[in-house]
Structures are given as structure tokens and as C-alpha cells.
Point group: C2
Amino acid sequence: MKSVEAITSLAETFRVLGDPTRIRIAFALSREELCVCDIANLLGVSQSAVSHSLRTLRQMKLVRFRKEGKIAYYALDDDHIAELLEVGFGHVEEKR
Amino acid sequence: MKSVEAITSLAETFRVLGDPTRIRIAFALSREELCVCDIANLLGVSQSAVSHSLRTLRQMKLVRFRKEGKIAYYALDDDHIAELLEVGFGHVEEKR
DNA sequence: CGCTTACATGAACACACGTTCATATATCGT
DNA sequence: ACGATATATGAACGTGTGTTCATGTAAGCG
């Protein structure tokens, strides 16, 4: 039996990925490291909204970033995240 | 590149699993088929809340059910769901 | 038949959430 | 030093969401 905290934390993770903007960001980052403004341009979302979304993703340790001068490069925090996305895609594609 | 619909649908799936009650239900169902009142007792949640949650899970085809007399037995719709939960647990347990 | 049990559902309320807007900080170019 | 660029963040506003409460339907039981 899994602990209550693990289940709560898992729900949190899914909830964070359960937003169109955030999952699009995660999916973009699964292909390559990107800076904030590139993400914003790529998705057609305001820089502010991207920053807020990245903050949420960061808090759940789904993404990490490194700062190079004034530019912040974001990437998925580890391979589990990409795996989670792929298993998820497997599900939605089967159901279509 | 994944289609916009696939990403939207994936976000929906994660959103639905991103609720404590619903993910607890999904986790319980990953072990065995259960009827509504058993789920309610198991989680300590009202029957009404469980029914509403199951409806949401059903709409995303995450669970299926069969009716036997007046009792409705619910189960995960397919093995992908359990896999999704396990990959998710792998992530949260690594991050702790 | 009533009565109980199992489940579903609509309305409503309180709360959470994502975006925008305004603004702050820090770095780069000139 | 000054303006432009890159990013972060707080407040606020509209919207979405989960629960409860009340009620409905349908099956089993005496």
C-alpha cells in the first residue's frame, strides 16, 4: 500500500501537468532545452504566463533551469517526466 | 510533433487524475474491482462525491463499470492507467 | 405493495486556479 | 550611464471545480 503522502504528491504532479499551457511547455522541453522567450513565442503565450507556469512546474520539480547571463534555459528535470508524457500519449491515442 | 488534440486530451487526462479523491479511487481500482459503496467506505468519502468522481473518470475513459443488479462494479479501463500511476509513483518517490 | 439499499445527478456554494496587467530586478549593448 | 531585453512576481479578476445537500431511479426484500 502506498503512503498517503505519495498519493497526495502524485495527485499534485498530475494536477500540474493537467493544464494545457504547462503540458505544452513540458512537451516542448522534452525535445530540447529552451529559454523563456522561446517558449513564449513557440506556444503563443505571454512571457508572464510562461514564467508563472514554469514556476509551478519548478515547484513540483518537473523542470530545472540554468541561468546564462540574463537568459534562463529550462529543461525537464529528469527522464521520468518524458516517460510520463509518453505513457500518457499511449493512453490517449488508444482511446481515440 | 504531436497533434494539438492529443496534447489537449493528455492534459485533460492528467487534470482528471490530478485530484486527490479521483487518484485515490484509481489507485484502489488498480488493485481490485470495487463497487461504489466499497470505494466510499474505503476512502471515507460520501457516496455522492464518489459517484461524481467516478463520472469524471468515466468520461475520460479511465474506468469502466458493469452493473450487477443494483450494484455497480468499477475497474480501471485498461492497463495503461495502472502503468501511468506506477510511472508517476516512480517520479514522486525519486523526488522525496 | 411498501421499505430499504445502491447508485446517479442537478443545483449551489465556497474555493482554487490561470491569465493579464503592472512593476521590479538584473544583464547586455552602446 | 541609459535604454533595451530577459525574466520574475504580486495583485486582481473571471472562470472552473469539488463537495454537499436534496432528490430521483431502480433493484432487492419482506
